[in-house]
């Protein structure tokens, strides 16, 4: 069964801004799915429509077979939402926030309290349960929203930039947690600006830009499209820029060289040429995350195609 099925989804806000221009998207049950796109691409609007916070202008959305137009209650029951912005009552305690959220889904109070203990403990928040939410750090607030979204034990969890502004240690612990609940069978849809996060966690991916899907494929297939990687080499200081025949390169300063390496060439030739010129390579790293490069290219090529299409018309 498809966890999420979107067809022809459009949204035009009052004032005329067209946020979605006919999106088709499917997410399989149990998937860990990334929805990526630049700011203003339509990610949050899509999530807003799926979770009933935004009214759609056209198209269809069904969640585990429940159409949001005809079976909204069933569709809502399947979804847990972790929004981008903190949207809990800052004056309520953690326990009140999560227990109330369960109550809105009809979970009786005694069961809600048991689940609150389970999820707040799993997310390292149990010690803070009686504190008002405003006293939490940013990372804790993010984890609180995850705990809250799980209180009615949804089949699908949608996370809109869940690790924004969270330090790397907490981010990694959140990744571990999300992987674990995905392995337990919860379908996860994730939007993020940390593309490393999407690459590490997600099996399938869609890239959205200006309200249209520019790519929708598996993470493996997407990464296979990457045919050039850029490496940054830290050199022992050199007076003259080294020459690298067959490679596009840029000398950034007397000890930093950027080299574009096609997949079929490999790095041996780069090192050989540098050694021949007496250049010592001290260390090396990828300029950017692999997915990040692909992402930028996909978005740019999507825009070029659109511009060409518009010009041809």
């Amino acid at each position: 069964m498809k966890a999420l099925n979107i067809s022809g989804l459009t949204k035009t806000y009052r004032g005329g801004t067209q946020a979605l221009r006919g999106i088709d998207l499917t997410v399989s049950e149990g998937d860990f799915f990334a929805l990526l796109g630049p700011n203003g691409a339509g990610k949050s609007t899509t999530i807003g429509i799926i979770s009933s916070l935004v009214n759609k202008s056209g198209g269809n959305v069904s969640v585990f077979g429940h159409d949001i137009d005809t079976a909204l209650v069933d569709a809502k029951s399947c979804i847990g939402l972790v929004p981008q912005e903190f949207n809990f009552n800052q004056f309520e305690t953690l326990l009140q926030i999560v227990v109330n959220q369960a109550g809105y889904y009809g979970v009786p109070r005694d069961i809600a309290k048991q689940r609150a203990e389970k999820y707040l403990k799993q997310l390292d928040l149990w010690d803070k349960r009686n504190q008002p939410a405003r006293e939490l750090s940013g990372g804790m607030k993010r984890r609180l929203m995850i705990a809250r979204a799980l209180m009615h034990e949804p089949k699908m969890l949608i996370l809109d930039e869940p690790t924004a502004g969270v330090d790397i240690e907490i981010r990694r612990s959140m990744w571990t947690f999300l992987k674990a609940i995905n392995e337990q069978g919860i379908t996860i849809i994730l939007t993020t600006h940390y593309l490393e996060e999407a690459e590490m966690l997600c099996r399938n991916i869609a890239i959205i830009d200006k309200g249209t899907i520019v790519e929708n494929t598996s993470m493996k297939a997407l990464l296979a499209k990457l045919n050039i990687e850029t490496f940054v080499l830290d050199l022992a200081p050199v007076e003259q820029a080294p020459a690298l025949e067959g490679f596009t390169h840029r000398q950034l300063d007397d000890h930093t060289l950027e080299v574009d390496v096609p997949k079929e060439s490999g790095l041996n030739d780069v090192f050989r040429q540098l050694s021949d010129q007496g250049v010592t390579v001290l260390s090396m790293r990828n300029k950017a995350n692999r997915l990040e490069e692909l992402f930028v290219r996909m978005v740019e090529s999507g825009r070029q195609q659109k511009d060409q299409g518009a010009a041809n018309e």
Partner: protein
């Protein structure tokens, strides 16, 4: 009502009651102090010089009106500020994403406003006992009138919060509409003291019917028929609930 909806309604109601009890210094104490001042100044000091009104001492006459004034103000303020805060902090989204029917959301918030109004009503009544012996003509009419009135103004507060975009927007109606209508609604005087034309004008003020219906429950005297009061309250309640339901259903102010 399904079990799920009942749990959701109970949750919203408990959340609302917890909210106004948590900030009791802002919600419960001020009406007690304000009403004590009214009792001392209008009832005791000035009232003694006014003499009888409607066959009762001035203090006995104004007690029901003052209780009603506190009920109206607090039921309205509770829901308008709570729902607007939920919009402002965006925690209303917790409800919007959940399978809670819109009528349950309305009932939950209104129920919270009614609970606060009833509690304030009891507090102000207890305060009044320090100044006067409270008569009770019909407990049924008292309870029915106060329930219907607090429900009406709680629903009105919700509608105000739906449209409000700033905190100023939720204080404008109480300041410029509710307070003048309440003061001119026969809390401090009998309509029979007014010239005929102004009596007629006053009867266009819905609060006149609530204050007088309530006063009838206490004293057995009223400027208008208590059945008319109850009938109007039912009609107004149905009308405002229908408006609130339409607004929430259409997502006005809460959905994009």
């Amino acid at each position: 009502m399904s079990n799920r909806n009942f749990v959701a309604l109970r949750t919203i109601w408990i959340k609302e009651c917890t909210r106004f009890l948590r900030i009791w210094v802002q919600t419960l104490v001020p009406p007690a102090i304000t009403m004590s001042l009214y009792f001392v100044i209008f009832g005791n000091l000035i009232g003694e010089r006014i003499g009888q009104m409607g066959g009762f001492t001035y203090m006995e006459f104004i007690v029901p009106g003052l209780i009603m004034m506190a009920v109206i103000t607090n039921s309205y303020a509770n829901v308008s500020s709570s729902f607007f805060s939920a919009k402002f902090q965006r925690n209303v989204e917790e409800l919007l994403i959940a399978p809670v029917p819109n009528w349950i959301i309305i009932l939950g918030y209104v129920g919270g406003g009614v609970a606060r109004a009833m509690l304030i009503g009891v507090i102000v009544t207890l305060v009044s006992l320090f100044f006067v012996d409270v008569h009770i003509h019909s407990l049924g009419i008292i309870v029915l009138t106060v329930l219907l009135t607090s429900t009406l103004f709680a629903t009105a507060g919700l509608i105000n919060a739906v449209f409000a975009k700033t905190f100023d927007d939720i204080s404008m109606v109480p300041t410029f509409v509710l307070t003048p209508l309440t003061y001119l609604g026969g809390v401090f005087y009998s309509l029979s003291l007014l010239p005929e034309f102004w009596q007629w004008v006053s009867k266009a003020n819905p609060i006149v019917y609530m204050v007088n219906g309530f006063r009838y429950g206490f004293l057995g005297v009223s400027d208008v028929n208590y059945l008319t009061s109850l009938g109007l309250l039912v009609v107004f309640n149905l009308a405002l609930f229908a408006v609130a339901y339409q607004l929430i259903n259409r997502g006005v102010g809460i959905r994009h």
